[in-house]
């Protein structure tokens, strides 16, 4: 690749949303996530490497390594090249290690699966999905070209991600969409009324006309000081022996779940969230005095504020349900959650929330706090935030790949390293995969979740990664036999 400037010149400060991943990472939750595509054949590593080389060149962001400054972390361009490897680490194993200059992602394969794992400070689920889509597209094309004629040929490898010249630039290190949309343009200029700004941005959307929303919670300190009478239930459990993330995948026909959600008049995400709450309640047996269950739900901001940047660009919304204060059947809970979620996940509400966050980020006093201290503050804020959360849920929705990959790829799914029980949903090729991850060995809540589905006539298949000594011994014995 030719570039105008020597590569090391290119660097960009990490936005605040990404900084939290550095501050909040722990041994059991290294803030890594994976997206997976399952092909219809055993993956060929040589072709995959070839496809990775092609795709890597198109995504300058993925060339970045993470460095530490006095006040901020920053991403810096590097000359490193990635290599595919067989899957020989547990899911979401740590990627970033301070003082080590390595790439912030890895591509692994196992049997029919192509897996992309990313340190969350680099990119979010949507950004990662763009990369995986291009990677799998290139892989299938190269493979089919190889089948047709044995001699290596020039294969046209178009990108699924719309990459004209403008978009190509957007894939690089420069754009931080938070700054683009939510930061004041010049020093001294007053922040435009955020509601007005949002109205402009979301003018085509009916929700944008809504005034201040009643369901909105206080951010920042207000959240730390949440009144304690509404005690939030938090799942306790046994940590896995080597602190790895416990992952269990439930695969089911997408249409069956969609039909169940439609019957209750809600979207799939909130239907599954309500089912998750119910599963937690059933496996807990007794919630005690903490009868409120809450979930954090990431919202992709690109759907409201158009951005081609694969860097982090999402916000989280919190929904909750208190048991024993009215009807607690699955349908009622999911409708109540949907009623909370809709207005919070709208352009005006998100613009207001992010405007406040960015205002905080740009405060002169906070800017000059040295990075280690900033990390401690962020860690504390994260801890306060965690106290009010039972679970986290994330849904990347239905994915369609460009042909010929679309017809050669079966289910697609993703995992996130977890500080608390969590699920990640994604559907492709008519299959919905709900992946549960957790820092604990227990699978009681997943059992209750699966049973609720099968009670309603949904066909569920379970794939679990082995984490305990007993499970791994069993696998070793089965392998030896």
């Amino acid at each position: 690749m030719t570039r105008e400037t020597p590569t090391r010149d290119t660097w960009v400060r990490l936005d605040n949303a990404s900084n939290i991943f550095l501050a909040a990472r722990t041994e059991s939750d290294p803030k890594v996530f994976r997206v997976v595509a399952e092909t219809d054949h055993e993956v060929d590593p040589l072709i995959l490497q070839d496809a990775l080389d092609h795709t890597y060149d198109r995504y300058p962001l993925y060339h970045a390594v993470l460095r530490r400054g006095i006040f901020w972390y920053y991403l810096q361009d590097s000359d490193l090249r990635p290599a595919v490897s067989p899957e020989n680490q547990h899911t979401c194993a740590p990627i970033y290690q301070s003082d080590r200059r390595n790439l912030l992602f890895r591509v692994v394969y196992h049997r029919r699966r192509i897996t992309l794992e990313i340190f969350h400070a680099l990119s979010d689920g949507t950004g990662a999905l763009w990369f995986l889509t291009d990677l799998v597209g290139a892989y299938i094309r190269l493979r089919e070209a190889g089948e047709q004629q044995d001699a290596p040929t020039q294969v046209d490898l178009p990108s699924a991600h719309p990459t004209d010249d403008v978009a190509d630039a957007a894939l690089g290190l420069v754009p931080d969409s938070f700054a683009h949309y939510f930061r004041r343009r010049n020093r001294g200029e007053a922040i435009p009324d955020e509601v007005e700004a949002a109205r402009e941005l979301g003018a085509s959307r009916p929700e944008a006309a809504e005034p201040r929303l009643p369901g909105e919670r206080p951010a920042g300190l207000g959240r730390l000081l949440r009144p304690l009478e509404k005690r939030v239930y938090r799942v306790q459990g046994t940590r896995t022996p080597d602190n790895r993330t416990r992952a269990v995948e439930l695969t089911m026909p997408a249409s069956e779940v969609l039909a169940l959600a439609r019957a209750e008049g809600v979207a799939v995400t909130m239907y599954l969230t309500a089912m998750f709450f119910e599963a937690i309640r059933r496996s807990a047996g007794d919630l005690g005095t903490a009868r409120t269950l809450s979930a954090s739900v990431p919202v992709n901001l690109r759907q409201f504020f158009p951005s081609m940047s694969p860097r982090n660009f999402f916000a989280t919304v919190r929904v909750e349900h208190t048991y024993g204060e009215g009807t607690d059947d699955l349908g009622s809970i999911s409708r109540a959650l949907e009623a909370q979620f809709r207005p919070l996940a709208s352009a005006p509400s998100l613009a207001r929330k992010l405007g406040r966050l960015i205002k905080l980020e740009t405060m002169p006093l906070l800017r000059i706090i040295p990075r280690p201290l900033k990390d401690s503050i962020l860690r504390l804020m994260n801890w306060g935030n965690n106290r009010g959360l039972t679970v986290a849920v994330s849904n990347l929705g239905r994915v369609v790949l460009p042909e010929p990959a679309e017809s050669r790829v079966g289910r697609m799914l993703f995992h996130v390293s977890a500080a608390r029980p969590q699920f990640c949903a994604m559907s492709h090729g008519g299959l919905l995969t709900v992946s549960f991850t957790s820092p604990f060995s227990e699978t009681g809540h997943i059992r209750e979740f699966a049973r609720q589905l099968t009670e309603r006539g949904v066909d569920v298949s379970v794939a679990a990664a082995r984490v305990t000594e007993a499970e791994l011994t069993e696998a070793a014995l089965a392998g030896a036999a």
Binding site: R8, D9, W11, R13, E27, E38, R67, G69, I70, F71, W72, Y74, Q76, E87, N88, Q89, H90, T91, D99, R100, H110, R111, R112, R113, P241, D242, N243, R244, A247, V248, E249, L250, R367, I368, T443, I446, R447, A450, R451, T454, E455, D459, V460, S461, V462, A463, A464, A465, R466, E469, E471, L472, E474, A475, A476, A478, G479
Partner: protein, 221 residues
């Protein structure tokens, strides 16, 4: 594929018991889409524990020296051996931990060894040899070594320039020793200071842009 009748689910992989409820499964096993990864007991955690224990013992050793006053002439040799061993241990630990950045580990070593020598001098009756000879010689050799390695090994400047700069600034300190009259002969300090000034000019001429860029990056507000 295997089935768990209790959960009414299909199970991928060769599980004898349902991974959700632990009941015995029926049917024949299918290959698992997820590999079975053996447990790893973090080597890093063990190394960190060893490091912290070592550090505690070293610091305790240095502190313990205070109890043997320097009039105790008969423990002189034993004390030197003890101090020498703990100092060596500390140097090895530091070098191992900071091995990824040559210039960074040099800065750490210069500071550490200087402090140990000053302490040693104080313990043995404060003859001033540490400030007169050891510290200036240490700084000067570090500067020469860094200039040579950066040239010879073609180390990319951006990464190392901040710490090389710090080493050079450390080299200016001995001039202060002379000014305050802490030394018995001024020559080592003067030579070291002069060398630092020369190195400063060299860095400014050949790497000024890199220095400004690196500082701009690290100090970005």
């Amino acid at each position: 594929m295997a089935r768990c009748e209790a959960c009414n689910v299909e199970i991928e992989g060769s599980w004898a018991h349902c991974p959700l409820c632990g009941n015995v499964v029926t049917g024949s096993p299918a290959p698992s889409p997820l590999p079975a990864i053996p447990l790893s007991f973090s080597r890093r955690r063990i190394l960190r524990a060893l490091f912290l224990i070592s550090l505690a013992i070293i610091l305790a050793s240095f502190a313990a020296q205070l109890f043997f006053s320097h009039e105790f002439a008969n423990i002189g040799v034993a004390r030197s051996i003890w101090l020498g061993l703990t100092a060596l241990w500390l140097v090895v630990l530091t070098a191992a931990r900071k091995r990824r950045n040559l210039a960074k580990s040099t800065v750490y070593l210069v500071i550490l060894v200087s402090l140990i020598c000053v302490y040693w001098d104080f313990l043995t009756g404060w003859h001033g040899w540490a400030l007169t000879y050891t510290v200036p010689i240490l700084c000067a050799s570090a500067i020469v070594a860094l200039l040579v390695t950066v040239r010879l090994m073609r180390i990319e400047s951006g990464e190392h320039i901040v710490y090389s700069g710090l080493t050079v600034l450390l080299g200016l300190l001995p001039i202060g020793f002379v000014a305050f009259g802490w030394v018995t002969t001024p020559w080592p300090s003067i030579i070291c200071g002069a060398l630092s000034l020369v190195a400063l000019v060299i860095i400014q001429v050949f790497g000024g842009r890199a220095v400004r860029r690196e500082l701009g990056k690290r100090l970005h507000l």
